[in-house]
């Protein structure tokens, strides 16, 4: 499967000459195999994806981890939603009483947005997920609630033996006296176990994290501990803080890595990067 990163930023788009390397758009990742296209989150990065759709695509599945604005703000600017011949499915987490449709409509309706969700020419179908397993084309997808404020899921996408895990907003260390606990007591472990590629929240420096415990985000240190426990093969830090420049994110990485060695590859997710995971 081919994985393309269209947005890596957390919370708010942060376009700036200082952010060119890792990018300023908010969360969006596409996963393709043949004519199957799955999009993870609809942050501002989805706009550019909409303008460069691979040919032959007649169905698009958008998987939303949660409804924080940085993960849905691009929806209304995603051109395929205005194509009546495109079949679009939107998948997102079940809440308490309000349907996913109603919650999404809060954003996709006036006064926040001129066009209502139900008036979009592609007439997207909405599917609610929670602790779910489902198939899209060749992909086996698992979703599970993970630690982040409000209904939030992480995703595990399997294609043969290739595994991508996506947890852009995740605070598995919340409340844990000695993080990490054993796997059974660690949020998101099952989704990340043995993944070839893990895209994981690493928004804060340790100093920034302390006054923001419970906000739903991680430090690079905690993302590293989580990735090590889950025995992933590659970890990319994701959901960069909008106030961090490329240089600061690099510095954050050096601080977190120090002289430590990890039995997996570690890097910083950058907008525009493409990965191929062989099916195996």
């Amino acid at each position: 499967m081919k994985i393309t990163i269209w947005g890596t930023r957390g919370s708010l788009p942060a376009p700036s000459p200082d952010n060119n390397e890792f990018g300023g758009n908010t969360s969006c990742v596409s996963v393709t195999q043949g004519d199957t296209l799955v999009i993870l989150d609809a942050g501002s990065g989805i706009r550019r994806l909409g303008n460069s759709m691979p040919p032959g695509i007649s169905r698009i599945d958008i998987l939303l981890t949660h409804l924080h604005l940085d993960h849905i703000m691009g929806l209304g600017f995603f051109l395929p939603l205005y194509n009546p011949n495109m079949r679009v499915n939107i998948w997102g987490p079940t809440g308490y009483k309000e349907s996913l449709f109603t919650r999404l409509q809060r954003y996709l309706s006036p006064p926040l947005f001129p066009i209502r969700l139900q008036d979009l020419p592609s007439q997207p179908q909405i599917f609610e997920i929670n602790e779910s397993s489902f198939d899209i084309g060749p992909f086996r997808i698992k979703s599970s609630y993970i630690c982040h404020p409000g209904p939030t899921v992480g995703f595990r996408i399997e294609n043969g033996s290739a595994v991508l895990t996506y947890m852009p907003d995740h605070e598995p260390a919340l409340g844990a006296a000695h993080f990490p606990h054993e796997p059974a007591w660690t949020s998101g472990y099952e989704l990340a176990r043995g993944a070839d590629l893990l895209l994981h929240d690493a928004q804060y420096t340790p100093e920034e994290y302390l006054p923001r415990v419970g906000w739903g985000h991680s430090t690079m240190d905690d993302a590293l501990k989580f990735a090590e426990m889950a025995a992933v093969k590659k970890l990319l830090f994701f959901h960069h803080d909008p106030s961090h420049t490329d240089q600061q994110i690099q510095h954050q990485l050096h601080q977190a890595m120090g002289n430590k060695r990890f039995p997996f590859e570690v890097g910083i997710a950058a907008e525009g990067t493409v990965f191929q995971l062989p099916e195996g």
Binding site: T94, Y96, E128, C147, G175, T186
Partner: protein
Amino acid sequence: MATNHIEVILSRQLADCLTIPVFLTDPEGNLLFYNEPAEELLGKRYEETGQMPVSEWSTIFSPMDRSGNRIPPEDLPLVKTLAHRRPAHGTFWIEGLHGEKNEISVTAYPLIGRPDRFLGAVALFWKTVEP
């Protein structure tokens, strides 16, 4: 190894921070976690016992009413919560390690996650009379 549901993980992490005894069970009543204050009640350490089936932990206590009669398990708040998926409250007496009787109040509540997943129960204990 299956990871516990996030609601169960967060319940444990909360219990871990509290100074009142807390039990956390799965839907079948298996004791998944008990915190340090609850170790005093059970006379056991979580680090040593790990999880405990209901048959084991329920016999460690011998809950009695005011007159010293054994209370059947189905009348205990935690067991009621597990059976009916509703909060329950009650008071009973247990014998301490040195034969002293302690009055204990228990409030149990079910863990029901989105959209309607019954995931277990939490019991909070108060020793109402110090020996």
